[in-house]
Amino acid sequence: MTTATVTGKPEEPVVATKNYLTEGGVTLRSWLLTRDHKRIAILYTLSITLFFFVGGAAATLIRLNLVTPSGIFTPDIYNRLFTLHGVIMVWFFLIPSIPNTMGNFLIPLMIGAKDLAFPRLNLLSWYLYVGAGFLALFAIVIGGVDTGWTFYTPFSSLYSNGYVVLALAAVLAVGFSSILTGLNFIVTTHRMRAPGMTWYRLPVFVWSNYATSVIMVLATPVLAITLILVAAERLLKVGIFDPALGGDPLLFQHLFWFYSHPAVYIMILPGFGVISEIVPCFARKPLFGYKFVVWSSIAISVIGFFVWAHHMFVAGISLYAGLVFSLLSYVIAVPSAIKVFNWTATLHKGWISFDAPMLYALGFIGLFTIGGLTGLFVANLAFDVHVTDTYFVVAHFHYIMVGGMVSAYFGGLHYWWPKVTGRLYPEWWARIAALLIFFGFNLTFFPQFILGYLGMERRYYSYPPEFQAWNILSSAGASVLAVGYALPFFYLGWSLFRGKRAGANPWAATGLEWQTPSPPPTHNFDRTPTVSRPPYQYRPEPEPQDV
């Protein structure tokens, strides 16, 4: 692995006029029938951004409703709003976010390959995503669903008058998209590495996406069958999940959470990967404890399958099962904590610069830690009985998903923006946006820990008046957050046309993706690289940045 050369002279950016954006056609058809992983990554980024804003619009309406204790929407509409928010954000934003955008773009580059193992499957997975997206939007537009993203039975299978089957079909389709992506990444990582690229020379980003793919591939099929069962039950009015007809609602919950708990690790593991790339680069130090970080990712993907019933502590499972799952849920905090320690140790005695990616990464470390620690709170059986179905849980998972994962997504977006587009984004605007996001996020979600502990229930359109002050704070934070999220849309878009041209390696980063021009040529590398050194060969001195 090469490091940036220290010549004392800024290099002239090589304007890569022949790159994946210009080669291979510029027509719509060439994009829609592409097999290039980089173009597919762009297609995904566009669609995911659209859904981020749809889910965000729902969140805006939710926070608007919660400004007053009696709400402004009817309970029925409110139920459809939080369901929309959950379904869209989980399945159409968070799960595909980093893997299908950055993973698709970068994994072949990082391992020295020309493409993924199965490019046509990759394109198919995008079409499945888009088709599923249309179905979901259609279901929303004709009336929506009110079951929550968790589709608990027998409400979803028997009582709800929303468009449940349509929503289930959409999630089923996007699940297949997920399985195909995971399959592609697993085979690619095993079989397509360049000569010399041994497992322990891989960037942590690749390991993280690999761990994510294992979960995608093994957990999503169980979701698929569960959704089929609910849809069949609803259409045929049978009762496998309905006690009055001889069924068991807990059977649904076991099957559902067997997928949905590992799903949260699908959502966060790629974020860990991004942070592990950004922190060494902006601290100019090799990642501390590489093997620990790598194996803790694998540990999370495995142990993540053993903890699902902690979502069911008060649902009626036996106390013995509650004990087992509570204990295992404590265990899984360990590998996450190991990562946080390693990132922090990487910072220690590093040469830290506060570019936007680093701001997002530092925000991630802090916010993820808070989210993760509150996970320990809810893993505790006694405490969970008190806070289940309150805003405490809502705050817990938003700290991880939004404070953590969305920050990682934005951090990665900024870090690799020069590579993907060949342009630099305006740094000061990016820093302002990052700070607004951090501030807005905490103002939105910290009050929710307090609200939850005080007893405010989640998924309710109204609440007792004594909670109003905290809710106003939270909604105020949401408006700041909205501005923070909207800003990148503008300045990143601007940079596409007016941004300074970026060279191959504007951050003086290590990694094979930085050894090829920005934007990369269609076939990624002119010559297949050979690798002989470990990753993250940074030295903690100021490097001249090539502009």
Partner: protein, 218 residues
């Protein structure tokens, strides 16, 4: 062994044809692992039903058509034989044998589906189709309905997999007839064979769970 057959060119992202073949085979095994979890979820539901309503399930099991089920199992096992045999023929570069064996496998698959359809028709006339025309008497009626709900889902999903397999094998037959495969290049046959054997294995487990329940009882 045919040495005059054209050496296949790998796709651009692969360095060698061997790498591409390995990736394809590994990819199929990963896919089969996902299918294990897919059917596995449904089997968890079945396990729950049988464990919590053993008498009802035993009674429901006695309504299943064991003759058709057993014949179908024979059919699928034989189709696995012809499929494995066809991979062997491909390995040896014997194009005509390959084509015929693939066609035989597809035909056996169609026979399976035909018998299944006949069986479903029988279940329709006996009012055993939940949600559509289910009507049974006796104290276990609800359990029988749940059993048949799972029965139709299990065999229906399996049947969809069989159908997909038949389509794939039919396409392979056409390609084989045109000489697309040689001793050096027959990965699609091998990979489809893996899929087909898996579909057979699923049925191997479904057979006793559906047809052999409660047979030793009243």
């Amino acid at each position: 062994m045919s040495d005059t057959a054209p050496i296949p060119r790998p796709e651009p992202q692969y360095a060698t044809a061997g790498q591409q073949a390995e990736a394809a085979t590994f990819g199929m095994w990963v896919f089969l692992a996902t299918e294990v979890l897919f059917f596995g979820g449904l089997l968890l539901a079945y396990t729950w039903l049988r464990a919590s309503h053993p008498d009802g399930v035993a009674e429901a099991g006695r309504h299943t058509k064991v003759v058709i089920g057993s014949v179908n199992t024979m059919v699928l096992l034989t189709s696995s034989l012809t499929m494995a045999w066809s991979v062997h023929a491909a390995e040896q570069g014997r194009q005509k044998a390959l084509t015929r064996l693939l066609a035989a496998t597809a035909l056996l698959g169609l026979l399976f589906l035909g018998l299944k359809g006949y069986e479903y028709h029988g279940e329709w006339t006996e009012h055993l189709v939940p949600g559509l025309n289910f009507h049974q008497d006796g104290p276990h009626a609800r359990t029988i309905e749940l059993f048949y709900f799972l029965y139709f889902l299990l065999t229906g999903l399996h049947g969809i997999h069989v159908t997909i397999g038949i389509v794939l094998i039919a396409l392979l037959t056409v390609r084989a007839r045109r000489g697309a495969f040689s001793a050096r290049c027959y990965t699609p046959v091998e990979v489809t064979g893996l899929y087909w054997h898996f579909v057979d294995i699923v049925w191997i487990f479904l057979y006793p769970l559906i047809y052999l329940v409660g047979r030793s009882g009243p």
